[in-house]
């Protein structure tokens, strides 16, 4: 299923003074898809977003909307009437919730009678029905950002840009709003671009990911592909693949290989899927949710990789706990509160960490290795 391209960026660069801050050779957005721009602060997410949204003129290159290049000021102005953006700061006007939601419609010249039903409908959908007459400065952070979302959705934008919309909120409001936004995007089929540095947020909202670093997109693709098959250690770390193991291929065949990794002073063997050659140096990653912990190694398990080790750290992570382990190499695992108490996990506790060969993702291979 290939859908119509709604936005195309080509050879986009932005310079601040003489310093290049953005370099995007190519980026497409298709109708109805949600693209997440991920990356640390300063990666260029906001700059890219502003350029795509017609709010920042690129130093070179072009942005096309539905096949026509956005020309200078007039073109971008017309484009901005058909799209909109929600920022990290709600940036509400010093007016009531209803007036705020109506503001974009008013700018488009809709009369009060045309605005009213739309404003009320969207206030309802975002749970603001009872707050319509409340001055914006009396709202909580979550309510304010809901108002900002209503103000954007009421415009029925052809593309909705969201620049880290929830990162200033407390965890609970953030959780709720992420869920609600996900529903709204799905229900309306709105095409959207969302910048975030939260992997969970991206996973819940986006169909496609583009991971950015230093003004460039270093990997992009479907959500599952990028999260499970990061192409380099930076992307791996960013999409939550916390355990990275480097080693040398000692055996391979039938799409499966064995690599030797340094394990304390000795070495251990890890099985992983992938086409490699013996002798190649490879980098693999394991997601913490794919690592299981037990007190004894279970011979009957389908997990091919089992490593005894000890807990070094227990870190609460919302409903889960992140366990850091020393198995001669660094390993992380997610466990539930129940497992935490059943296994009596605490620093120093000896455990066996295991993961299936299919949970190991080949990130990089180096060196050609000898011909087979």
């Amino acid at each position: 299923m290939t859908r119509e391209r709604i936005l195309e960026a080509r050879d986009l660069t932005v310079h601040r003074g003489a310093v290049p801050v953005l370099d995007i050779p190519e980026l497409d957005l298709r109708v109805g898809e949600v693209l997440a721009l991920m990356g640390p602060n300063g990666a260029g997410k906001t700059t890219l977003m502003l350029t795509l949204a017609g709010l920042l003129a690129p130093s070179s290159g072009s942005v096309s909307f539905r096949g026509s290049v956005l020309q200078a000021k007039a073109g971008r102005e017309a484009f901005r009437r058909r799209t909109t953006m929600v920022f990290q700061d709600p940036l509400l006007f010093d007016a009531t919730v209803a007036q705020n939601i109506a503001s974009g419609l008013k700018l488009r010249g809709l009369s009060a009678t045309e605005r009213k039903p739309k404003v009320e409908a969207w206030a309802q959908r975002l749970g603001l029905g009872a707050l319509l007459d409340r001055p914006a400065h009396q709202l909580s952070g979550g309510e304010a950002q809901r108002t900002a979302l209503a103000r954007a959705f009421v415009l029925d934008p052809e593309i909705l840009f969201l620049d880290e919309p929830f990162s200033a909120l407390d965890p609970q409001a953030r959780e709720e709003l992420t869920g609600d936004l996900g529903h709204l995007l799905a229900e309306t089929g709105t095409t959207a671009v969302i910048a975030t540095h939260d992997q969970g947020e991206a996973a819940r909202l986006a169909h496609r990911l583009a991971v950015m670093k230093e003004g460039r997109i270093i990997q992009r693709g479907g959500l599952r592909k990028v999260t499970n098959h990061p192409e380099d250690p930076f992307v791996a770390a960013f999409v939550g693949m916390e355990t990275l193991l480097k080693g040398q291929v000692v055996d391979c065949g039938e799409g499966l290989f064995t690599m030797r990794v340094r394990k304390g002073t000795g070495s251990g063997e890890v099985m992983a899927p992938g086409e490699v050659r013996p002798g190649q140096t490879v980098l693999v990653g394991v997601r913490p949710e794919h690592v299981a912990l037990s007190l004894h190694s279970d011979k009957g398990s389908s997990a091919r990789n089992a490593f005894p080790g000890a807990v070094t750290k227990v870190i609460p992570r919302g409903p889960f706990f992140k366990i850091e382990l020393d198995c001669g190499f660094f390993l992380t695992a997610f466990v539930t509160a129940q497992s935490l108490s059943e296994l009596e996990l605490r620093p120093g506790r000896p455990v066996v960490a295991s993961f299936k060969a299919t949970s190991v993702h080949l990130i990089r291979r180096e060196g050609l290795g000898p011909e087979v």
Partner: protein
């Protein structure tokens, strides 16, 4: 103390009798300073918007000059305008020296930097992303400027109050370019100076009271506008 009480008593008499000369002076003060403030608002706000929304070399210098201008001594402005409007000065052909127009010109020069300076601070104090947010909502540039002004309305009204307060109370420039001519350019401040000089403290006190009430009323009105709809 007697002098003050006697002065206050006579002042009240003058006010209650609605002395035509006093009324004329009051009305002229209000007209001259009101028009000067409006001109300064148009000028000052335009300059503030241009400075707030654009980046260009020399911007800091202009802002520094503007802030210095907020403290322009009225006598210096009076001298400058007098020279400008003098019979064989650059604008002498206008023939407006010693008319209310000259006073409006001088007062507008005094109030414009005040209004521009405070307005600029007000606009710069708005959240930095607000401009982009307004544009992202589909605003044209004029719509964006209007919404920014609306958002900054509280401090902008403070700018108007400061501008009006500055010119309704100034005396140096008004005397120099207006000449305190009875029935033509005599305003509350210049009349107060003259009456005090002549030892007519009662009239001077009456005029001062009017000046105070006037300043208070205009500011009360603007404050009402400013604080309207705002609850603690």
């Amino acid at each position: 103390m007697d002098l003050i009480w006697e002065g206050l008593r006579k002042a009240l008499e003058l006010l209650l009798a609605l002395d035509p000369e006093v009324l004329r002076i009051t009305w002229l003060s209000l007209q001259v300073s009101g028009v000067a403030t409006l001109i300064s608002l148009a000028l000052g706000l335009s300059v503030a918007v241009a400075l707030a929304l654009n980046e260009f070399p020399g911007k800091r210098l202009i802002i520094a000059l503007l802030n210095t201008g907020m403290g322009l001594p009225p006598v210096v402005v009076g001298l400058f305008v007098t020279v400008l409007l003098w019979r064989n000065g650059p604008l002498g052909s206008l023939g407006i020296l010693y008319t209310p127009s000259a006073m409006i010109l001088a007062q507008a020069i005094i109030a414009s930097p005040i209004i521009a300076g405070i307005s600029l601070a007000a606009l710069q104090h708005l959240p930095p992303g607000l401009r982009l947010q307004i544009l992202a909502l589909g605003a044209s540039r004029p719509q964006m400027v209007w919404l920014l002004i609306k958002e900054a309305r509280l401090p902008l009204l403070a700018a108007v109050m400061a501008g009006f307060g500055g010119v309704i109370s100034e005396v140096g420039a008004s005397i120099m370019v207006g000449g305190n001519i009875k029935g033509q350019t005599r305003v509350l401040t210049t009349a107060t100076v003259m009456e005090t000089g002549k030892g007519n403290f009662d009239v001077a006190i009456a005029l001062s009271l009017i000046l105070l009430v006037l300043a208070f009323s205009v500011n009360a009105l603007l404050t009402h506008l400013q604080q309207r709809g705002r609850r603690p």
